[in-house]
C-alpha cells in the first residue's frame, strides 16, 4: 500500500517536472529572443510612461498632456499596476521584458490544466502544453509589453475554473479571475460569447446545463457589459459602432484586421495542432459528447468567426484560435493514444506521442524561424533616441514634435514633448484626416500646404528618424527651405525646427 502511494507521488512529481521543464524552456526561449533584440519596441514606451506615472503618483496617466498634444486615455489599468509593482524590485526595463514573457509562458500551465481536465490523460496534456508554448503565432506576437500577455492566460485560467466550478474554491477563484480580467483588458468579451455558444450547443444537444456555470456566465455577462459601458461610454458616443475597430485609421485598418487565409492559419498555428484540433472537433460533435471540449469548441468557433468578420485584430484572433485548437488537439491526441493502447501493440502509443512532439517541432520550426526573420518590426534605433534626447535637452517644454504615428509614444517618452499622434487612437476626432496629414508632412513638396498643416497642428519640430527615411524613401524634407525651417540636429536622424513663417 505504502509502495503504491509512493509510486503515485513519484509519478505526479515526474509529470510536474516535465511541465516545469516545458515552462522553463518556453520562458528561456522567449527571454532569449527578447534580450537578443536591442531596446524596446515602439508600443512599449507607452507602457513605460504609464508605469512610471503609477510609481510617481499612484495612478495611471488617464489625462495625458503629451499624447496628441493633450488627450484622455481610457483603459483598464491592472497590467500597468502589475508592472509597476515588480519595478520596485528590479529595473523597469527588465520588468518590461521579463514579466510579460513570464505571463505568456504561464499559458503552458493553463493549457496543461485544461487539457488534463478535458482528457484525464497526462501524456496528451503535456503534449498540448508543449504545443502551446511553441506554437508559431505566440512568437509572432512577442510584443515586449503586450497586455495580452496577462489577459490571455487569465482568460484560459478562468475557463478552467469555470469548468471545475462544482469543486470547492473554484467559484471564488472564478470571481477573482473575472475581476482581474476586467481590470486587465476588454478581450474577456470573446470568452463571454464563447460561454453563450457553449450553452446554446448544450441546449441543442439536450445536455444538462450546470447551474453554477450558468450563474457565473450570467454574472460575467452583466459585469463585463456594465464595466465596459462605464469605461468606454465616451468612446461609444464618439465613434459609434466603429469603436469595435478602436478608431484605427482606415489605411492602417487592413494591417490590424487582415483577411484570414488557410495558409495564414497553418503558418500561425502549425499543421499538427490544426489537424488534431479539427479531428477533436469532429469527435466531439459526432462520436462522443464532452461538455468541457464543447466549451473550447465554441471558443475556437467564435475566434474564427471574429477573425473572419474582422472584429478582432488578426494576430490576437489567431492567438485565441490556436490556443483553443491546441486544447482541443489534446482531446484528439488522447483519442489516438487510447485507441492504440487498446491494440496488440500498446507500446506504440509512447512512440506515437514522441512522434507527435517531433513532428510538431519539425512542422512548426520552419514558419517560426521564418517569422522571427520577417515579421519582427525593428525597434527604434539609438540614433533616433539620441535625437529625441537632444530635443528634450534643447527645446522648450511645451513644444510639439512631429514623428510617424508609430513613433508617437517614443517621442513622449524619450523627448518628454508633445506628439501629433500615436498608436492609441481611441477618443481622437477625425483620426483618418490626422493620419493622412502626418503622412503628407513627410512627403509633401509644396511648402505652402506643409506650412498650413504645421500651423494647424501647432508643430514646432519634425523628427526625421532612420525608420521614417526608410519608410518614405527620403533623405530630407522636400519643402524644408531655410526661410521656414532650420535643421537643428543632423546625425543619422534629422530634427527640423519650424520657424513659423507665413506663406501666401
Amino acid at each position: 500500500m505504502k509502495n503504491t502511494k509512493t509510486s503515485k507521488e513519484h509519478k505526479i512529481a515526474k509529470e510536474h517536472i516535465i511541465l516545469a521543464i516545458i515552462f522553463a524552456l518556453v520562458l528561456a526561449m522567449r527571454l532569449f529572443m527578447v534580450f537578443s533584440e536591442k531596446g524596446l519596441d515602439y508600443e512599449a514606451y507607452n507602457v513605460l510612461r504609464q508605469v512610471e506615472h503609477i510609481k510617481e503618483t499612484g495612478t495611471p496617466l488617464f489625462k495625458d498632456a503629451l499624447s496628441y498634444s493633450g488627450r484622455t486615455f481610457v483603459f483598464p489599468p491592472l497590467f500597468y499596476y502589475l508592472l509597476a509593482g515588480f519595478s520596485f524590485f528590479m529595473p523597469l526595463e527588465l520588468v518590461i521584458k521579463i514579466i510579460p514573457n513570464l505571463a505568456f509562458a504561464s499559458l503552458v500551465i493553463a493549457v496543461y490544466l485544461i487539457a488534463k481536465h478535458l482528457t484525464k490523460n497526462k501524456t496528451a496534456s503535456l503534449i498540448a502544453a508543449f504545443f502551446s508554448g511553441f506554437v508559431p503565432i505566440i512568437f509572432y506576437s512577442i510584443n515586449q509589453a503586450s497586455v495580452y500577455s496577462l489577459s490571455l492566460p487569465l482568460i484560459f485560467f478562468l475557463s478552467y475554473t469555470f469548468l471545475r466550478i462544482e469543486e470547492k474554491g473554484f467559484a471564488t477563484m472564478s470571481i477573482v479571475l473575472i475581476i482581474l480580467l476586467l481590470l486587465t483588458h476588454s478581450s474577456v468579451f470573446i470568452l463571454l460569447i464563447s460561454f453563450i455558444i457553449y450553452f446554446i450547443i448544450l441546449t441543442l444537444e439536450k445536455q444538462d446545463i450546470n447551474k453554477k456555470e450558468l450563474e457565473i456566465a450570467l454574472f460575467l455577462f452583466f459585469l463585463t457589459v456594465w464595466f465596459n459601458l462605464l469605461l468606454y461610454k465616451k468612446a461609444f458616443l464618439l465613434h459609434g459602432i466603429k469603436f469595435i475597430w478602436q478608431n484605427i485609421p482606415a489605411p492602417l485598418l487592413s494591417s490590424y484586421f487582415e483577411d484570414i487565409t488557410f495558409l495564414g492559419v497553418i503558418s500561425a498555428i502549425g499543421v499538427l495542432p490544426l489537424l488534431l484540433g479539427v479531428y477533436a472537433i469532429y469527435h466531439v460533435f459526432f462520436k462522443t459528447k464532452n461538455q468541457a471540449a464543447t466549451l473550447y469548441l465554441g471558443f475556437a468557433f467564435i475566434s474564427f468567426i471574429m477573425l473572419w468578420f474582422k472584429f478582432i485584430p488578426f494576430k490576437v484572433g489567431l492567438l485565441f484560435l490556436s490556443i483553443n485548437l491546441i486544447i482541443l488537439s489534446a482531446y484528439g491526441i488522447k483519442t489516438i493514444l487510447v485507441t492504440i493502447s487498446k491494440t496488440k501493440t500498446p507500446w506504440l502509443s509512447n512512440v506515437i506521442a514522441l512522434s507527435l512532439v517531433v513532428l510538431f517541432t519539425l512542422t512548426s520550426i520552419v514558419p517560426f524561424v521564418l517569422s522571427t526573420k520577417t515579421d519582427a518590426t525593428p525597434n527604434p534605433s539609438d540614433d533616433d533616441i539620441n535625437a529625441l534626447q537632444w530635443i528634450r535637452n534643447n527645446t522648450a517644454e511645451r513644444v510639439v514634435v512631429l514623428g510617424r504615428v508609430e513613433e508617437g509614444f517614443l517621442i513622449n517618452y524619450a523627448s518628454e514633448r508633445r506628439n501629433v499622434a500615436d498608436q492609441n487612437f481611441l477618443l481622437i476626432n477625425n483620426i483618418d484626416q490626422r493620419y493622412e496629414d502626418i503622412g503628407l508632412l513627410f512627403t509633401l513638396r509644396l511648402k505652402s500646404e506643409a506650412v498650413r498643416l504645421m500651423n494647424d497642428y501647432k508643430i514646432n519640430y519634425i523628427l526625421l528618424s532612420n525608420q521614417t527615411m526608410k519608410e518614405y524613401s527620403i533623405t530630407g524634407l522636400f519643402y524644408a527651405d531655410p526661410d521656414c525651417f532650420d535643421v537643428v540636429y543632423r546625425k543619422e536622424a534629422i530634427v527640423y525646427r519650424f520657424l513659423r513663417c507665413d506663406v501666401e
Binding site: 447551474k211 453554477k212 450563474e215 450570467l218 454574472f219 452583466f222 457589459v225 456594465w226 458616443l237 459609434g240
Partner: protein
C-alpha cells in the same frame, strides 16, 4: 371594470416577486417618473440654459405661438411652407393662452409623461399583469432613455404615445359604453391628424390586444372607421398629405442610446428584454403567437422611430420579468446572486444618469440663445447653419434656416443638402457664391459643434472663406459662436 376584464384574461404565469403588493410601490414609481422628468428641466433651469433641449420642441413651440395669434394658419410664416394643422400644436396654443411658454415647456411634457405612465400601468393590470409587476414596469420606464427623451421636451411622439395609450385604454374598457367608444373614435381621429404612423401602430396594437383578450375585432374596427374616412377625405380633398414618418435604415447609432440615439434603447434594457422574453416564451406555451408578434414589433422598431417609442414601453414588462426571475430564482452561489442583482440595479442607474446627462448637456446654451437673439435684430434673410440647429435658429431669431429637421419633407431636400455640404467644404468664393445666391443665403451661423464636426477645429472650407473674403462681414463672435453676413462688395 377590471374584475370583469380579468375574467376574460388568461393570466401569464410567472413567479411572484417578494415585494408586498401595494399602492405604495405605484406611488414610488410615479414619483420617480416625475422626479426624472423634472430633473432635466430643473437642472437646465439652474444652469441658466434654455429649458428645452435642441430639436423638435422649438418647432412645436414656435408654431403653437403662431397659432395662438392666428388659429387659422395655413402657411408656416418662417419656413414659408404650407402648414398642415396638427392637433398637438393646437393643444400647446391653447395652453399658451393660459400659461407662459416656460411653464408650458415644463408642465406639458411632465404631465403627459405622468399620465401616459398611469395609463400604461392601468393597461398592464387590465392585461392581467400583477399590480406590483406593473408598478415595477413603471420604474423601468422611468429609466428608459426613449421615455425620458420624449417627455422632457415638447415632442410630437410623446403626445402620440399618450394619445395611443389613452385610446387603447378606452377601447379595452368600452365594452358596452357608447360614450367611451365615441370618445375613443374622436381621439383616434385626433391621432390620425397628429401622426399617421402612430395611428397605424395603435390599430395594430388594438388588434393584438383584442385577440389576446378574445374580444371581437369589431370593437377595434368600429372606432377607427371615422378616422379612416376622414383620412381618405383629407387626402383627396385638401392639402393634407398622409405620410408615414419615422422610417430609417438600420443603424446602431439610431437604436442604441449609448451611441447617441435620440430615441434609442439602453443596451442593458435590451439584454434584460431578451432575458425576459426567453423566460416568458419558455413558460407560456399558449401565448407564443403573441410573444412572436412582440418580437416582430421589436425588430420593426429598429427601422422606425415611432415604433421604438412604443416598443420602449412594451419591453419594460419583459425587463421586469427578467429581473423578477433573477431575484426569485434559487441560486447555487449566493454571492453571484447578490452581485448580479447589484449589477442590474447599477446598470439601470447608469442608463438613467447617462440619458439625463445627455439632455442636460444638450444645446442650446445661453451663448447660442444670446447670439440668436442678436441675429433677430438684424435684417431679414435666410440663415445657413447645421441642420440640427435649424429649429432653434428659427425659434429665437425668427429667420428661416436653410435646413432644419423638417427639411427632409421638402422635394428639393437632397439637392439642398448636397449643396450645403459643398458650401461648407469649399474655401473658394467662386464655388460658394453660386450656392449662396441660389438659396438667397444672407447669414452664416457657425457654432462650436460645427467647427469640430465639419472642419475638425481647423479653419478650412467655408469657415476659412468667411474669415478671408471681403464678401463676408462678421456680425457677432462670442464663445466660439460666429455670425457672418454675406454682403458681396461690402466690408464694414
Amino acid at each position: 371594470m377590471t374584475s370583469k376584464n380579468d375574467d376574460l384574461i388568461e393570466k401569464i404565469p410567472f413567479k411572484r416577486s417578494r415585494g408586498k403588493p401595494g399602492f405604495k410601490l405605484l406611488i414610488l414609481s410615479l414619483s420617480l417618473i416625475v422626479f426624472v422628468l423634472s430633473l432635466v428641466l430643473v437642472v437646465r433651469l439652474v444652469q441658466h440654459k434654455p429649458l428645452l433641449p435642441a430639436g423638435e420642441s422649438y418647432y412645436n413651440l414656435r408654431l403653437a405661438q403662431e397659432l395662438k395669434e392666428n388659429p387659422l394658419l395655413i402657411e408656416d410664416p418662417i419656413q414659408n411652407t404650407p402648414y398642415q394643422p396638427n392637433p398637438y400644436h393646437y393643444l400647446l396654443a391653447l395652453l399658451l393662452l393660459m400659461l407662459s411658454p416656460s411653464l408650458v415647456s415644463i408642465i406639458t411634457p411632465i404631465l403627459l409623461g405622468l399620465i401616459s405612465a398611469i395609463i400604461f400601468f392601468k393597461l398592464l393590470t387590465l392585461l392581467g399583469i400583477r399590480y406590483e409587476d406593473a408598478a415595477y414596469s413603471l420604474i423601468i420606464l422611468a429609466v428608459s432613455p426613449a421615455f425620458i427623451n420624449l417627455f422632457t421636451g415638447l415632442y410630437l411622439y410623446g403626445f402620440v404615445l399618450f394619445l395611443s395609450l389613452l385610446i387603447i385604454f378606452l377601447v379595452i374598457i368600452s365594452k358596452k359604453s357608447k360614450y367611451t367608444l365615441a370618445l375613443s373614435s374622436l381621439l383616434l381621429l385626433v391621432l390620425t391628424l397628429t401622426s399617421l404612423t402612430g395611428f397605424i401602430i395603435t390599430l395594430v396594437f388594438l388588434l393584438i390586444i383584442c385577440l389576446a383578450l378574445k374580444r371581437k375585432v369589431r370593437t377595434v374596427i368600429m372606432p377607427s372607421f371615422p378616422s379612416i374616412i376622414a383620412l381618405a377625405f383629407l387626402a383627396f380633398f385638401s392639402i393634407y398629405k398622409p405620410v408615414l414618418l419615422g422610417f430609417h435604415s438600420f443603424e446602431f447609432r439610431n437604436i442604441l442610446s449609448v451611441l447617441g440615439a435620440d430615441l434609442g434603447y439602453d443596451l442593458f434594457l435590451i439584454l434584460l428584454f431578451f432575458a425576459g422574453f426567453i423566460i416568458v416564451w419558455s413558460k407560456n406555451d399558449e401565448k407564443r403567437l403573441l410573444q412572436l408578434v412582440v418580437l416582430i414589433f421589436f425588430v420593426i422598431s429598429f427601422f422606425n422611430t415611432v415604433a421604438r417609442a412604443y416598443s420602449s414601453l412594451v419591453i419594460t414588462f419583459y425587463c421586469v420579468t427578467a429581473i423578477t426571475y433573477f431575484y426569485n430564482r434559487k441560486w447555487e452561489l449566493e454571492i453571484i446572486r447578490t452581485g448580479t442583482l447589484l449589477l442590474i440595479l447599477s446598470s439601470l442607474v447608469f442608463s438613467l444618469t447617462s440619458q439625463v446627462n445627455l439632455l442636460i448637456d444638450a444645446q442650446p446654451d445661453k451663448e447660442i440663445e444670446n447670439s440668436l437673439l442678436f441675429l433677430k435684430k438684424l435684417g431679414a434673410g435666410i440663415v445657413l447653419s447645421a441642420e440640427d440647429t435649424g429649429f432653434v435658429i428659427e425659434f429665437y431669431s425668427g429667420k428661416q434656416a436653410l435646413l432644419d429637421q423638417n427639411s427632409f419633407l421638402n422635394l428639393n431636400y437632397n439637392e439642398a443638402k448636397n449643396d450645403t455640404v459643398r458650401l461648407f467644404l469649399t474655401p473658394r468664393l467662386s464655388e460658394a457664391e453660386p450656392i449662396l445666391g441660389k438659396y438667397n443665403i444672407r447669414y452664416i451661423f457657425i457654432t462650436p459643434e460645427m467647427k469640430q464636426e465639419i472642419w475638425s477645429d481647423r479653419q478650412e472650407g467655408l469657415w476659412f472663406l468667411v474669415e478671408n473674403s471681403d464678401s463676408f462681414v462678421r456680425k457677432y463672435e462670442y464663445a466660439s459662436i460666429e455670425l457672418w453676413e454675406y454682403a458681396p462688395g461690402r466690408r464694414t
